[in-house]
C-alpha cells in the first residue's frame, strides 16, 4: 500500500501520479491521509486501482472516475463522483450536494445521507444512499438507478426522462412528470442486486418505485394556444 499524506504533498502532484499509472500497474493499493477538504481529490482516475481516503475531501472528489475503486472514510463536499464513467466510489459518511451528478456508469454508494440534487442529470450511474437525500434529487435524470434507504426531499425526479428511483422512506413531494410506478418482480430483482452490490442491508419489498410519466418528451398540441 502506498500512503500519500496531503499535509506533505499537493493534490496536483498526487493526481498526476495517479493519472500516469499504466493500466497494468502493480501500484494497485493507495491510501490518502489528511485530505482536509481539498478539491478534486482523485478526479479523473482511469485504471483499476483501489484508493482509500481517510478524512473529509472537498469538492469533486472522484470526479469522472473510470475503473478505479475509491473508498472515503469521511464526509464529501459538493459534486462527489460527478460524471463517473465506471468503477465504484463508496463514502462511509455523508455527501454534500450534487453527488453523482451527470454520472454515466459505475456504482456510487453513500452510506450516510446525501445533500441536495443527488443524481442531478444522471445518465446511467447507479447510486445507493444508506440515509436520506435532499430536494430535487434525480432532477432531469436520464438513466441509471437511484436507491434511497431513507427519505427524499421535495421535487424528487423533477423533469425526469428515464432512470429508476427506489425510495424506502417518505417522499416529501414529486417533481414535474415524476410518478410512482408499479414494483414488478423484474424491478424487485434489480433492486435486490443493487443493494447486494452496495453491501447495504434493506428489504427491497419495503421500497416504492418512481419514474417518468413521459409526458414532457414531446410538445403537446393542447398547449398550442399558450404561445
Amino acid at each position: 500500500m502506498i500512503t500519500v499524506d496531503l499535509d506533505h504533498s499537493s493534490v496536483r502532484d498526487l493526481n498526476e501520479r495517479l493519472h500516469r499509472l499504466p493500466p497494468e500497474t502493480n501500484e494497485k493499493a493507495w491510501r490518502i491521509v489528511n485530505p482536509k477538504g481539498a478539491h478534486a481529490l482523485c478526479a479523473g482516475l482511469s485504471v483499476p486501482i483501489e484508493v482509500v481516503i481517510d478524512g473529509h475531501p472537498g469538492y469533486y472528489c472522484a470526479g469522472m472516475n473510470k475503473e478505479a475503486s475509491i473508498v472515503v472514510n469521511g464526509h464529501c463536499g459538493v459534486g462527489l463522483a460527478e460524471n463517473m464513467m465506471s468503477g465504484e466510489v463508496r463514502v462511509k459518511g455523508n455527501a454534500s450536494d450534487a453527488a453523482g451528478a451527470t454520472g454515466r456508469g459505475g456504482l456510487l454508494v453513500i452510506e450516510g445521507d446525501a445533500g441536495l440534487r443527488c443524481g442531478i442529470s444522471m445518465k446511467g450511474i447507479d447510486i445507493v444512499v444508506g440515509g436520506s437525500v435532499g430536494h430535487m434529487s434525480a432532477f432531469m435524470a436520464q438513466g441509471g438507478s437511484l436507491v434511497v434507504c431513507g427519505d427524499a426531499g421535495s421535487s424528487l425526479g423533477d423533469s425526469i426522462y428515464e432512470a429508476r428511483l427506489y425510495i424506502q422512506g417518505k417522499v416529501e413531494s414529486l417533481g414535474a412528470d415524476c410518478v410512482e410506478k408499479k414494483m414488478t418482480p423484474h424491478h424487485l430483482a434489480k433492486l435486490e442486486r443493487l443493494l447486494a452490490r452496495a453491501g447495504i442491508e434493506a428489504d427491497p419489498r419495503r421500497f416504492k418505485r418512481y419514474g417518468s410519466a413521459r409526458r414532457l418528451y414531446n410538445f403537446h398540441v393542447d398547449h398550442a394556444d399558450a404561445y
Binding site: 481539498a38 478524512g55 464526509h75 450536494d97 435532499g134 430536494h135
Partner: protein, 302 residues
C-alpha cells in the same frame, strides 16, 4: 463567488485563540475571494454607557487624534483611539448613536465600519492573509467572529462594498449570493427611516434584519421573517452581541458547512476552512438545510 467563515466558541478556554483560528479559516477561503476581506470580532466589551466604533478613512495619515479630541470636547466624553492601519477603534464614554450623529454631521468622509459595545469590524482590499495580518486578527481574543472573502462579480472592489455589513449596535451580516428584490426592500426600509450607505444588496439584507430586531424580534424570528421577505440566493451568517446565526435560502445554491464540537461551532463555505480547527476530525459536520434557521447564544453556551 465569495467565502464566508464564522466561529462561535462554547468553551471559554478557547477565547484567547479566537482570532488565530478565524485567521486560518479566512485564509483557506482565499480562492473563493481574493479581492478583499472583512472581519467582525466580538471582542473586549466596553462598560456602562460607553461605546466603541470602528472607523475608516482612505488616507492612512488622517488626523484621527484631532477628530478624537473634537468628539471628546463636543460630547464632554472621554475618548480613546487605537489605530490599526487605516482603521481606528474609537472608544467613547457616550452612547454610539450620539457619536455616530456627531461624526456624520462633522466628518461625513469618515466611514463607520461597526459600532456597539463589543464588536469591531475591519474590511479592506487585498488577499485575506494580508488583511488578517494588517489588522492583527490572530492576536484578537473574543467569543465569536465572522469573516468574508470577496470575489466581486458585479459591483466594484472597494472597502465600502466589502462585508461584513453593520446595521445596528453589535450586529453584522455576511452574505454569499444575490438578492433579486433589494430595490423594493430598500424603498420599504427607507420609508421606515433607514439610511443606506451603498447600493449593495447585502446592505439591504443587513438593514432588513436590523429593522426586524428593532421591532423586538429574536435573532431566530428576524431570520424566519427574512425567509418570507428576501427573494434571491443567500447563505447568511450573522452576529449579534450574544448571538450567532446561519441561514440558507430555500434553494440552497450557495454552499455552507456547519461543524460543532463541545467546544465550538464553526460555519464556512467549504469544509477546508474547518479542517484545521482543534478536534475538527471528531466534529459533527453537516450542510445546513435549506430555509432552516440555525442560532447559538453566548449566554446559553457558557
Amino acid at each position: 463567488m465569495c467565502g464566508i467563515v464564522g466561529l462561535f466558541l462554547k468553551n471559554p478556554a478557547l477565547r484567547p485563540s479566537l482570532g488565530r483560528h478565524l485567521s486560518h479559516m479566512l485564509v483557506e477561503m482565499t480562492e473563493r475571494g481574493p479581492d478583499s476581506a472583512g472581519i467582525a470580532v466580538y471582542h473586549k466589551p466596553v462598560k456602562g454607557k460607553a461605546s466603541k466604533l470602528t472607523l475608516f478613512h482612505a488616507d492612512p495619515h488622517f488626523h484621527w487624534r484631532e477628530v478624537g479630541g473634537a468628539v471628546g470636547e463636543a460630547l464632554k466624553a472621554e475618548v480613546d483611539i487605537e489605530t490599526k492601519a487605516n482603521h481606528v477603534v474609537m472608544t467613547v464614554s457616550a452612547p454610539d448613536a450620539t457619536v455616530r450623529g456627531w461624526l456624520k454631521a462633522h466628518h461625513p468622509e469618515i466611514r463607520i465600519m461597526g459600532y456597539g459595545q463589543v464588536m469591531e469590524v475591519y474590511k479592506d482590499m487585498g488577499l485575506p492573509k494580508q488583511v488578517a495580518e494588517r489588522y492583527g486578527l490572530s492576536k484578537m481574543e473574543g467569543t465569536h467572529a465572522i469573516g468574508h472573502t470577496r470575489m466581486a462579480t458585479e459591483s466594484a472592489v472597494t472597502t465600502e462594498h466589502s462585508h461584513p455589513f453593520t446595521a445596528a449596535s453589535d450586529m453584522c451580516l455576511v452574505h454569499n449570493g444575490s438578492l433579486s428584490n433589494h430595490n423594493n426592500l430598500r424603498k420599504w426600509l427607507r420609508k421606515r427611516g433607514h439610511e443606506f450607505e451603498t447600493d449593495n444588496d447585502s446592505e439591504v439584507a443587513a438593514r432588513y434584519f436590523a429593522h426586524r430586531l428593532s421591532e423586538g424580534a429574536s435573532l431566530a424570528e428576524a431570520l424566519e421573517a427574512g425567509l418570507k421577505d428576501l427573494d434571491g440566493f443567500y447563505t447568511f451568517t450573522m452576529g449579534t452581541r450574544n448571538g450567532f446565526a446561519v441561514l440558507r435560502d430555500a434553494f440552497a445554491c450557495k454552499p455552507a458547512v456547519l461543524a460543532e464540537t463541545d467546544d465550538w461551532v464553526a460555519m464556512a463555505s467549504e469544509y477546508r476552512s474547518i479542517a484545521n480547527l482543534p478536534g475538527a476530525d471528531k466534529a459533527a459536520v453537516w450542510a445546513p438545510a435549506p430555509a432552516v434557521v440555525y442560532t447559538w447564544d453566548v449566554k446559553a453556551a457558557a
